[in-house]
Symmetry: C2
Subunit: 403 residues, 2 copies
């Protein structure tokens, strides 16, 4: 599907009207910013999508409860994941919501809380509680980029974007900020993303829009195949732009959802490209599968294969490793029908080496990004995901740190 291009604007989660943000260092980490706050002037409609990991952090559990209510603000700490922390961790997450609610003059259930960092260590709650009024005192209407920086962990750069679109003559804005996947010191990293809009959207429609966008973007990336205990994507709609109430049956709904999806995809690709130690971002496209589920299985298996990922790092058009992964993926295949190409260069035709000179394939592999195309030639199923390579830097980052 070709989507209508969006009109990008400067800014981040505070680009839409009525949102303020802040970020600062309160002492959970040694030096870098470790607390961020995002606030809506008027309580906003909220929707959330969370990790499906059966081991999930206390703040994820709390968000699942609180996301049912209107949201005044989102409090994020980095440096400590508040995961595997039992009853005490749950109480700590609740206490964070209580302290933030006090600072924002709302009820605790109107606050969403996220944590990212070390697993299995209790939060330093004195530090956290002392930090909350401090970060709240720094709220600004143009601090979206400060927020995006404060949620970073090992991300090399802040990830944010914003766009505007016209719906029924009203200009509405959408902003997004995200932090990366892949492992971080000292423990599990987390994919966190926050989307804001000044459109007015009912809660069911907002959730449906978010779910769709996440399925098409954040669920289409693979850095190391591991899923964090804290992955969270939240979407707030505060209606501050005025204009029509949007819902699934509004004529502008498609454009709105498309814009959200494109912003999410922009963040997703940046997360992969900024994957720890990654030197390449590879789009793995699977076509001709018996169904979409099979195509997804093949795409994920190939993008997760350590042998494939190391061959990408070596700029090696090693299609043998690709077809091997296709073969053990579990999807239905016929090895004599499999085609494999890198960008527009055919590498495999009917399960056998094509006549394309190796040097041409190598030229594609030497790029920072390329598309690996796999056609099973069995049906109409298709899928794509974005993956990255695995090189020395990945090993260094993930092995040299000792807790």
């Amino acid at each position: 599907m070709i989507m209508k291009p969006i009109k990008l604007i400067q800014g981040s989660v505070t680009a839409p009207s009525g949102f303020s943000a802040a970020g600062c260092h309160v002492g959970i980490k040694k030096k870098r910013p470790d607390m961020a706050l995002l606030v809506s002037d008027q309580p906003a409609t909220a929707a959330g999508v969370f990790t499906t990991n059966q081991v999930n952090a206390a703040p994820v559990k709390l968000c699942r409860e609180h996301v049912k209510y209107a949201c005044k603000g989102i409090l994020v700490n980095s440096g400590n994941a508040n995961a595997c922390t039992g009853q005490q961790g749950m109480q700590d997450a609740r206490d964070m919501a209580v302290a933030a609610a006090e600072a924002l003059s709302c009820k605790p259930e109107n606050v969403l809380v996220c944590s990212t960092g070390t697993i299995g260590v209790m939060l330093p709650m004195d530090t956290v509680k002392a930090g909350i009024p401090k970060v709240a005192a720094e709220l600004q209407y143009d601090a979206g980029e400060i927020f995006a920086k404060a949620i970073m962990t090992t991300d090399a750069y802040a990830k944010h974007a914003a766009c505007e679109l016209d719906i029924d003559g009203t200009t509405i804005r959408i902003g997004i900020a995200a932090k990366g996947a892949g492992m971080i010191e000292p423990n599990m990293a987390t994919m966190l993303a926050y989307i804001t809009t000044d459109a007015q959207v009912d809660v069911e429609s907002l959730h449906s829009c978010l779910k769709h966008a996440v399925d098409k973007s954040f669920n289409r990336i693979s850095v190391d195949g591991d899923q964090s205990t804290n992955d969270t994507v939240l979407f707030l709609a505060n209606g501050a732009a005025g204009g029509p109430a949007l819902s699934t049956d509004h004529p502008g709904w498609g454009d709105f959802c498309s814009a959200v999806e494109q912003l999410c995809m922009d963040m997703a690709i940046k997360i992969v490209a900024d994957g720890e130690g990654a030197t390449k971002c590879v789009r793995v496209e699977v076509h001709g599968a018996r169904n979409d589920e099979d195509a997804r299985t093949v795409a994920r298996t190939v993008a997760r294969s350590l042998l494939v990922k190391t061959s990408w790092f070596g700029c090696d058009p090693n299609w043998g490793r690709v077809i091997d992964a296709v073969g053990y993926s579990g999807a239905e295949i016929d090895e004599n029908k499999v085609d494999i190409g890198y960008d527009d260069c055919q590498a495999v035709l009917n399960g056998m080496r094509s006549s394309t000179p190796l040097s041409e394939l190598e030229t594609v592999l030497k790029q920072d990004s390329f598309t690996l195309k796999i056609n099973l030639n069995l049906g109409q199923g298709s899928w794509f995901i974005y993956g990255c390579d695995c090189g020395y830097e990945y090993v260094r980052i993930n092995s040299e740190y000792t807790t």
Copy 2:
């Protein structure tokens, strides 16, 4: 289950009576041995277990046909996998069997053929055909270790073992030779293993014994989570020792199967320890799962996790990555019941950090081998597998080669 210790003897696949072997360089590779032959004086009962990869090599397809017949000999070439080679590759595998049959004065269906090496390149059949009489001329009754060396690819050392046991007053012998898993230059490596015995065993019993032993050994190792197109384990029984005909209802059957299983496990652990670039061999034990299948899922997910493997390389008792993998494995778990330990040091109790000092855990992780124990505390299901770490050397081997 505690198994009866086996009586190890010197030797390899030619330790049992009536087996001869050879290995030499015929020119598929530049310098190193690239052809091996294993022959039974009298046609032997044969059983085989093969890769379940839907993409599988021509010799695997041929073996599946020929293993139904009595086996006179097994011909192995290294340097070329004869995989993804279409109809021509199938014909080449058949021609190898024909040429070997000629040299051994038997029918082609009495020959089994294995290949390992580059995927997607046609075998140099003139070289192969010229080499077969050469290797056949070098057959010797004590050349089992030469055979074990000739099937090596990037293995650091030859892997073989032999044992003997008394059944009804007759001494019977079992020999084994194997080559390693993990990637090799330039393409997909293959796990190959050959077992010989001079016991007399009927074909159904032999297959049942082999299947059980492989499930308990070679199917319990994970080097990089990728499954080759050529994996093959073959078992020949020639009856040369005389003595009773063994079958599943013979009183000595349990001892026989136990000996085969222990030899296979010895090879499997050597394959993991010799995994490309591996510095550690880790036994991942899962207990207390709802059932064995869930335990297996958890064990495989943990042993395959790139984040877990890099933490092992870094000697980092990073149980957060372990419990994270447990959580996304798909097996039923309750995060508040999960216990994790390294050897006898408890790291996690009821899903939370235990009081064991970090230094004690680190001491365990610094060993060349240790056991990671995961207890889900939900039921009676258990499983174990052997995995290895992932470090710089793995990345170097698998990325620096360019086809």
